[in-house]
Symmetry: D2
Subunit: 224 residues, 4 copies
């Protein structure tokens, strides 16, 4: 049934609204953080470059025991991955691009994930160039865009403080922040989620709630 | 004696040669990794943007017990730092720029450090834009530049394989690699060092050896 | 007001019942695990030796940043502590002895705590000798004693499976098990709690609930 | 060739001397720590009870990726193991007993291993009862026995300070200490080794050196 994916609603309700229809495509964990951080930006300013540096705990690499997920391999280590034959390619890159392009014009995205010695949690540090450097906003402008777009949604919050993994582990929350490097003319975005909750099963419960007409936090109130 | 810093030789011998004179300025850990990865590039191609995403173990935050270095704060956490008032600023950014500009033309550098739950080790993932996208090299070209520039030096090695912290912990080695994101027109550089050795005391011993006319690895042969 | 401690009810309700009077003494984390594991035993058989090997996460060492709680000191390390001048002494040893002696005859207890590189959680492995080796029970007998004594209490559970820290972290639960080394004539008891919950604030809420006449799990139902 | 094991020299040279003959049986990691700590004691006093609480890093569980060695299983966790059907049994228990009985009279040993979230290193905390409580030594006496028996051997050291894993990781050293709980009439012994060196390959090199007539530390001088 190759037609089914086309029918599915992309389950990031804070950007695309409550699911409609009978199918919901639950987003990947990396795209969840990236799209939440970038959508309000690409909607408002013309972006010429996006480089995502992503850090993920080992549960992001799956439950299967492998050489890579062995404690002794991952512990006291950090490894960039998704680079082969001298080229970065990760299956989430096209998902990030395709989804963001429903919101605004977006160039090819550079995405470099790294595996970290933590059990769960994901942090993305995103460097954005604007087409017109005169458009470079203030950090507070971006926080305002987040506040406007995500108003009323329980599980996305933007703060002046740069997010840390510890802010969101064990919750269904995405935490966002922004900074501006005016010297270099770059906008920096930060997003943190728990890959096992907002990046996976937590988002699925939230989508189910919305699809069935319940409040989005039914049964997951304590994960806010 | 404010004139002393001007007299000092910048102690990154693989780029600036063996120390001469009576003073050596031992580089900071972040600049060591950044300059080793970037110098051969900025010497050869015109670079229009440099964004450094740096990951450091907790020993990089100093031996002083603080709220930030407490085990429970750092464990199972990752925290970007060096961002204040919505702007990134870290004391190592001007060092990186000033030193690289002795080698080639370099734009303002964006530098975002992150604290990781490992004891030691540092990894930098560097995204570089070129002034002329037609200059975008192959990953193998960059490895060739590294091989050429660092030939004969014991403690810098470039490999096709992307470096991990575990490749260099407990050694005085800097390990470099490169990738090219041709879709997005970006060059990616990777550098890993042990901040307590090549990023600090190991480099100091290496500089001392060279300043005194000894082989650079005297007494630290086992740290290769 | 030195008379107050005498008036206080020892707040381990599964052993000493719901608090009465106006004062509750919330138990230390180590005594909570030790007394829950040992009380049903010393009530039923004559014990001639008790040696407690205790393992604790770094939050058990307090929130104060010290050389010992610095990430780099605690990480990749395990350190026995509470030994000085060639003698073990920890302030919780007399608490364990005094409280257990309200239940049965108990010899001087040997208690050796160790600091582990985990944020939270506590595991005690307790080796018990009996006065009369003919009294040595089966592991299943001890599980039966636990079932009998802790029936109806929400936060203590005994299982055949040996407890791990991961079974109880983030919960107010104490998890117990037992084994018998018939060759050596010893009874082994295992207890695991989260020192920040059942070993501290979780127990305090549970005690407050009981003191005020509420169900013991009011407000902490999700920590079962 | 079932007769070969009988011919082999037990490769713990500090207790049994330099290997003779053509076969050396390299000891298990747990027995190495236990026998080094206990041999000087059982040689001198009559021991009535030995309970070994052993803590091991994940490399002790083997290089094979399994559910147990997956980072997410081992991290932030501690798990006692080697207990089944309510009884402790670990393949190293009979090795410990058999080897110690070549030195003195030794009762059945209780041995409980625990898996810890560190990559390497092993710590044993051993509780010993004496047949005649009047024989209970001072901690300093035991340090003196260690000094006497291990004099001239490079890789065993006894100190007043209780050993930590960090004292020996990356070395071929065994570090020992002792304490006396006079209240409870018990002797406490502590031993720490790196299971990958003194507990495995480091010991093998040391044995090979001795078997071939070289100094024991040839090629491993830097692991002292």
């Amino acid at each position: 049934m190759p037609e089914l994916p086309k029918e599915a609603h992309y389950g990031l309700p804070e950007v695309f609204g409550a699911p409609e229809g009978r199918l919901v495509a639950n987003p990947g964990c990396y795209p969840t953080a990236a799209v939440l951080a970038l959508a309000p930006v690409v909607k408002r300013v013309k972006v010429s470059s996006v480089a995502i540096n992503a850090l993920s705990g080992v549960s992001g690499a799956g439950a299967k025991p492998t050489a890579k997920t062995h404690f002794v391999s991952a512990n006291e280590n950090v490894s960039p991955y998704g680079v082969a034959d001298g080229t970065p390619h990760h299956r989430h890159t096209p998902e990030i691009e395709a989804v963001l392009r429903r919101v605004g014009k977006v160039p090819e995205v550079t995405f470099v994930p790294h595996l970290l010695p933590i059990s769960r949690g994901e942090l993305e540090t995103i460097v954005v160039d604007l087409e017109d450097s005169g458009d470079l906003p203030e950090a507070w402008d971006v926080l305002g865009w987040y506040a406007e777009d995500y108003q009323g949604w329980a599980f996305v919050e933007a703060r002046e403080e740069v997010p840390q993994i510890s802010h969101i582990v064990g919750t269904n929350r995405a935490r966002l922040s922004a900074a501006v490097d005016r010297r270099a003319g770059k906008l920096l975005l930060f997003a943190a989620i728990d890959n096992l909750l907002k990046g996976a099963s937590g988002a699925a419960v939230q989508n189910m709630n919305l699809a069935l007409g319940y409040p989005e936090d039914t049964g997951i109130e304590h994960l806010k």
